[in-house]
Symmetry: C2
């Protein structure tokens, strides 16, 4: 296939997930990939990626077709529209700029050519795009990869890349359009044969299922400072926090029509081997002083569950604590100003 | 009054509260005080206390009658029994040794002379002594002092010492015995005229009232990492966490027969001036990697409230998080052993 026939793909976010997505797409030969990088731009632009991967082996100085340090402005640069724009960044809607404004230079609101692929966690992540880009098909990507960027441009992938792709419901588009784009994307992504990329017609099930981990273990570990191994050993951890929270998610999912089996609770508790003592993303973020993805992972399922009458006492408290922790990070970073401190003795 | 007629008082714990208690008692002239110190023993034994106090002014190199680095064994040392033993240490029943075993060398179980005074927070703190020392009157001390030990032996007291004293109910003693001891203690403690020490016949009311702060703001600040000023400013802080928790305490108190006015919630929210950004004790302890007093401050009122049928969803989650944080500190200090870490790539 000549380069001109390849699909033109933009990946925004070239960290642990985005780099492996770029590699899969390029290896398959059906896509030419541009990756937009931020913190690791200099490292990757100069020396390429170093990738140690259970799917792909060891690669040194690997580069996708193009790397950039900002989202291209396709009108100003007179570029053709992308076939697919894949988002693999963190999704933190409570901290500006919004993701939809971030990608808008590459996706004008009139653009009917491009399909958006959100390889991000949580619920209702498509909603901002249904408003800002109502004519754009938006695909759901649920990634089950185990991958980490151990330093800028150095990726260690120690668990297989499995990706579930389907179309988010868009009331303004024919359902067939999204499904067709999803199936095409599955073909392009899976072509290299190194990965397991599956089409799913019902994207909500895999999203709610992953929330059993992400709305529960993830914030509980972040708040207690314990990794997924230690939280299983700690007093009050499993029976006091993790199981009650997970049962609330299973119950909320059922009430919105997503049937999860009860065994999913034990499965998610054990999904990280205890003795690896893995820090889930929110704990890693809190330790680094980064913002946490608590709104889509915790706030949205909480709101969905409460809207259908499910009591969610554990998630409610976890949510408000996560919100206060996010406020703390905003204040530490100077995004929020507070009244100056007074001295007790001179009061 | 000759020294021989003075009451013989032992204070266990000579930090911010214990040092001012010792000073008050000695200033009044009706007590001869022995203070048992641990972390600050060398500083105080060599140079005495430096005290900057809104009640007493500035004192340099001040010493109580005696200082010791461990609880005296009155039988071995052939000492007369103490009239009062005052406990001003932290109370952490989930970490050995227990306080009752700590003081037992100075208070044999057959001793009918000594009265115990617990200037400590929380509920049911007298219970272990009703078992270990059933014949000993136990007094409740609720301290409303503002005082801190800024370095070993250096005490800054920036808010007046107000102390509420009453007798805990002991089913094996005549009620009059406890009340009489409480009134005597109030006289001795208040004699110096620098403090406000009041007798109260109902000790549960002041304990539950203080829990509106201590079971709520204290763990919420410790868990979110926010001080009492910032928690009032933070998203989700007051309405999401502090007020719901405080209302649960007020409701539990009512159900056990302690009527608190609704205004106590706003009073406790505002009791620390916002712009001082004060860290309550549990937050200070978490920051220092110390154990937290979560069982008596949070666990006991939670259990009491649940036992009388009060729904306590906020306190329940806060309690289990506090428990997990305590486990983390135990593990960090080597009190708990966990399976060794495995390496993901060699699994």
């Amino acid at each position: 296939m000549a380069d001109g026939q390849k699909k033109n793909v933009l990946i925004v976010g070239g960290g642990a997930v985005g780099a492996i997505a770029a590699l899969n797409l390029e290896v398959g030969g059906l896509a030419s990939v541009t990756v937009v990088l931020r913190s690791n731009f200099n490292a990757v632009n100069e020396g390429g990626y170093t990738i140690e991967s259970c799917d792909h082996g060891v690669l040194k100085s690997w580069k996708p077709s193009h790397v950039r340090n900002e989202v291209p402005d396709i009108e100003k640069e007179n570029l053709p529209p992308y076939d697919y724009i894949i988002l693999t960044t963190k999704n933190i809607p409570d901290v500006p700029p919004s993701i939809s404004s971030l990608i808008s230079p590459a996706l004008t609101s009139l653009n009917k050519h491009t399909t958006l692929v959100l390889i991000q966690n949580g619920l209702n992540i498509e909603k901002p795009f249904l408003k800002s880009h109502p004519q754009t098909p938006v695909l759901s990507g649920v990634s089950l990869i185990g991958s980490a960027e151990i330093k800028p441009g150095v990726i260690v992938q120690d668990d297989r890349d499995r990706l579930l792709i389907g179309a988010f419901h868009n009331p303004q588009l024919e359902p067939a359009i999204g499904s067709q784009k999803a199936k095409e994307f599955v073909e392009i992504y899976g072509k290299g044969g190194k990965t397991e990329c599956l089409f799913e017609s019902d994207v909500l099930t895999s999203r709610w299922r992953k929330l059993v981990y992400n709305a529960c273990l993830n914030p509980i570990c972040a708040i207690t400072g314990l990794d997924t191994g230690r939280i299983r050993l700690a007093d009050g951890g499993l029976e006091g926090l993790v199981r009650p929270a997970m049962r609330e998610i299973v119950e909320a999912a059922r009430k919105v029509g997503v049937e999860l089996v009860d065994e999913v609770v034990d499965f998610m508790i054990g999904v990280d081997p205890l003795e690896l003592y893995l820090a889930p993303s929110m704990l890693a973020d809190v330790r680094k002083g980064n913002f946490i993805e608590y709104e889509n992972l915790l706030g949205e399922p909480l709101r969905e569950g409460k809207a259908v009458g499910v009591a969610m006492p554990t998630l409610q408290v976890l949510y408000n604590i996560a919100k206060a922790i996010q406020w703390r990070t905003k204040e530490e970073r100077g995004l929020i100003k507070i009244p100056p401190k007074k001295n007790a003795m001179t009061n």
